[in-house]
């Protein structure tokens, strides 16, 4: 868990360009447990900002600026060394693995031994209210259950920060409040800096942090 002196995620003069044209620029500090909400219409480059921070920017775009996490600039690290927990619109559970397989895949290698890894995955399932789902086929889960597994998977990897790309927009109203509450509660509990991209004002309100408008 990040400690408070160097904690948080700082976006230092981050700019996203498409073919020479600037789409957006951000200069912010997101403290542990806080959420920065980026709002804007589609095509405004807000998802691209997440791709730049997470390290999976499409080669068509270019980005610049420092992304400081835990006191060091991660903008030039390969994606797998940035430890970004990502949630997309779709839960994107790996369809060829069991629910448990998805979770075990996320557990850091430091947790050794398959029994220990399985135990941790089962605890994570219980933590999102899905006891006994370890051996299930992800495709047989309901939309809300899939969203919970996706959240559990992201948290198991012990990320340094969360990137949320409209993760609630495909859930129906009732479920949306529930999952949204769960995600922000867990992020606060783990003291993770969160960047949320959305076009739903209710998301921003639930996140409760700073909001910037782009596009």
């Amino acid at each position: 868990m990040p400690d408070d002196t160097t904690a948080g995620l700082r976006l230092d003069a981050v700019r996203i360009r498409l073919g020479g044209q600037e789409l957006l620029s951000v200069d912010r500090l997101v403290r542990p447990g806080e959420t920065l909400t980026v709002m804007g219409p589609s095509g405004s480059g807000k998802s691209t900002l997440l791709a730049y921070i997470g390290g999976f920017l499409d080669p068509a775009f270019s980005g610049e600026g420092r992304v400081i996490c835990g006191g060091r600039d991660i903008a030039h690290l390969p994606a797998q060394e940035r430890h970004a927990g990502i949630l997309f619109q779709d839960p994107l559970l790996f369809p060829h693995m069991s629910v448990g397989g998805n979770l075990v895949f996320a557990i850091p290698r430091a947790v050794a031994g398959s029994a220990a890894r399985r135990k941790r995955a089962e605890a994570a399932l219980a933590d999102v209210g899905l006891e006994g789902f370890f051996d299930r086929d992800p495709d047989t889960l309901s939309g809300g259950q899939k969203a919970r597994v996706a959240l559990a998977r992201v948290l198991l990897a012990e990320p340094n920060f969360l990137l949320l790309d409209e993760p609630f927009s495909k859930l129906d109203m009732q479920l949306r409040d529930q999952i949204r509450g769960l995600v922000f509660e867990r992020a606060k509990r783990s003291r993770l800096p969160v960047i949320l991209v959305t076009h739903d004002a209710a998301d921003a309100a639930a996140a409760g942090g700073d909001v910037i408008e782009v596009g």
Binding site: D58, P59, Q80, A84, I86, F105, A106, P108
Partner: protein, 559 residues
């Protein structure tokens, strides 16, 4: 290392073609120092042009190319226009698609067994309707106009063009255009041809060119179904190429250059036809006729499509039946008895060709898959697909007639001291397998949802782990299917196998075509049956392995 993959792919595709063309052109103009040809001369061409009936041979090859492409393309256009988004369409599509895997030679034999005077169709109506108690003395198979040759080519090219068209469909707003044209009062077919077809055709144009190149130069189909006196140019070409007289190589090379010219002429005629059709369509469109009464043309397209499938499947069934038939006299529709004698006689000698077919096919397929996957992975890394230029390279071995460059390649190998060995055969198969593996795999590869990889990277997984644990298993079905296509292509290769194998390495396909001349229907049936069995096993495995691996994963069942 990944960086060199696209370069390797281009080398595999282009170098053999270029080397082969050079190796054909030089001897054609009398230059082949190893055989004492050190001066440029036109003598080889004089000899070729002096062959009796040469003009007719060339015209048949030319017509095969243009007519096959015209009928196949028109059929696919009318069928897609008339029936897309219907249940009938999906039914026919699932019926026609497997035909792609049937080797040309097997399909040609099946068709011959169907339509010959002593074939199944004649037996069905004899003697009660025709009064025939002996096969009529008609020249249906091997007719002098090459009509059955073209029919044999069409039934194999239609599935190919249909599949390429289906792959292009998602990139055009088909449903919306259909509804729009319909609301403006256009008939289904006319609406489709006016609005959607031009965009589709632009995407399948290379494939149509490949059909012309293949049909104008196909050897195996022409040996089985084509005219004999004189034979079409590619058949005579192979006779010259296999002439033990070393000096015949000059003439064979000049013949190969002539073949290139014939194919080029067919392509030029086709490009002219394209312009004419585009102009005529535009004129027609401007006058605004609606063509609402298109039920007739739709039915014709449907029947023709169904006939294609029935002809091949029926033919293949006949082949299988012949292989186990005892006495089966004309005009009996079914054999009087069944017997395994044919199999007992043939099986002992089948080991060698079978081993060669399977090992060469597997090696060429695995190598192709490795190169294609590496190239696609590199493309994904750089975000550059190479676009149309890359596609042209992919199609290059399919656009240059095999007879035009494989002989030159063989001369290169022979005079470079490389005899007929297994590795050389794998290499030359690779040239033709690679394009099909690429064409099959590129669409599903590019359609892969890359957010899965972003998530895996966020979970701290490196590129290698992400590739092996996420992308590879999720695409396993597509990769295996592409490999099955590649294996089927390798099994069906005739000319490259004959030329590079030089009689010392034989496959099921070369044996089948060679035995075709003997006319023993039981033996032909056995070899043709094996020819279709091997690709079928490939596809069955490709479907079975992922189904077993991911048997409890519902989302993996959708291809």
């Amino acid at each position: 290392m990944l960086r060199f993959a696209p370069l390797l792919a281009i080398a595999v595709l282009a170098l053999p073609v270029i080397a082969g063309l050079a190796g054909t052109l030089a001897p054609a103009f009398g230059y082949l120092p190893a055989l004492g040809g050190s001066e440029i001369s036109l003598e080889p061409f004089r000899i070729v042009l002096g062959q009796p009936g040469l003009l007719r041979s060339c015209l048949i090859a030319l017509a095969s190319g243009v007519v096959t492409a015209a009928i196949s393309t028109a059929l696919v256009a009318l069928f897609v226009g008339g029936w897309s988004e219907t249940r009938t369409f999906r039914l026919i599509q699932s019926l026609v698609s497997p035909l792609l895997a049937v080797p040309h030679a097997a399909a040609a034999f099946g068709l011959a067994f169907m339509i010959a005077p002593s074939g199944f169709l004649a037996r069905l109506v004899s003697p009660w309707a025709t009064g025939w108690t002996r096969p009529p003395d008609w020249l249906i198979v091997n007719d002098s106009l090459g009509l059955s040759l073209m029919a044999g080519l069409i039934v194999k090219e239609v599935p190919f063009l249909l599949l390429i068209t289906l792959a292009a469909l998602p990139q055009v707003p088909l449903a919306a255009s259909n509804r729009l044209a319909g609301s403006l009062g256009y008939g289904r077919v006319a609406g489709f041809l006016f609005t959607t077809w031009p965009a589709i055709y632009r995407q399948i144009r290379l494939a149509v060119s490949a059909v012309i190149a293949f049909a104008s130069s196909a050897v195996d189909v022409a040996v089985i179904l084509g005219p004999t006196t004189p034979a079409s140019l590619p058949v005579r070409l192979v006779q010259w190429m296999n002439d033990p007289e070393l000096t015949a190589r000059f003439m064979a090379s000049a013949g190969a250059v002539l073949q290139l010219g014939v194919t080029l002429a067919a392509l030029l005629i086709w490009f002219g036809l394209e312009k004419l059709c585009a102009m005529a369509t535009m004129r027609l469109c401007e006058r605004g006729p609606r063509f609402r009464a298109d039920a007739g043309i739709r039915m014709v397209a449907l029947l023709a499509m169904a006939t294609t499938a029935i002809a091949i499947f029926g033919g293949l069934g006949l082949l299988a039946l012949w292989s186990v038939s005892g006495l089966w006299q004309f005009p009996h529709v079914l054999p009087a008895s069944l017997s395994l004698r044919g199999w007992q006689q043939t099986l002992p000698g089948i080991g060698d060709p079978l081993t060669t077919t399977v090992t060469v096919g597997l090696a060429a397929t695995v190598l192709s898959a490795l190169i294609v996957v590496a190239s696609l992975a590199r493309e994904q890394e750089t975000g550059r697909s190479g676009g149309n230029r890359a596609l042209l390279f992919i199609y290059l071995p399919l656009l240059v007639p095999q007879a035009g460059f494989v002989f030159g390649l063989k001369l290169f190998l022979v005079h470079g001291g490389v005899g007929a060995n297994w590795a050389a055969l794998v290499f030359v198969h690779l040239v033709f397998v690679l394009p099909y593996v690429f064409l099959s795999l590129s669409a599903p590869w590019r359609a892969f949802d890359r957010r899965y990889e972003a998530i895996a990277a966020g979970l701290g997984k490196g590129r290698g782990t992400t590739f092996l644990a996420i992308r590879l298993p999720m695409l396993s079905r597509a990769i295996l299917a592409a490999m099955a296509v590649g294996f089927a292509v390798s099994v069906g290769q005739y000319l490259p196998t004959v030329l590079i194998g030089a009689g010392r390495l034989v496959t099921i396909t070369t044996e089948a075509v060679a035995l075709g001349a003997g006319g023993n229907r039981r033996i032909i049936g056995i070899y043709a049956f094996l020819q279709m069995l091997l690709p079928f096993l490939g596809f069955a495995l490709a479907a079975l392995v992922p189904a077993l691996l991911f048997r409890n994963r519902r989302a993996m069942k959708i291809a």
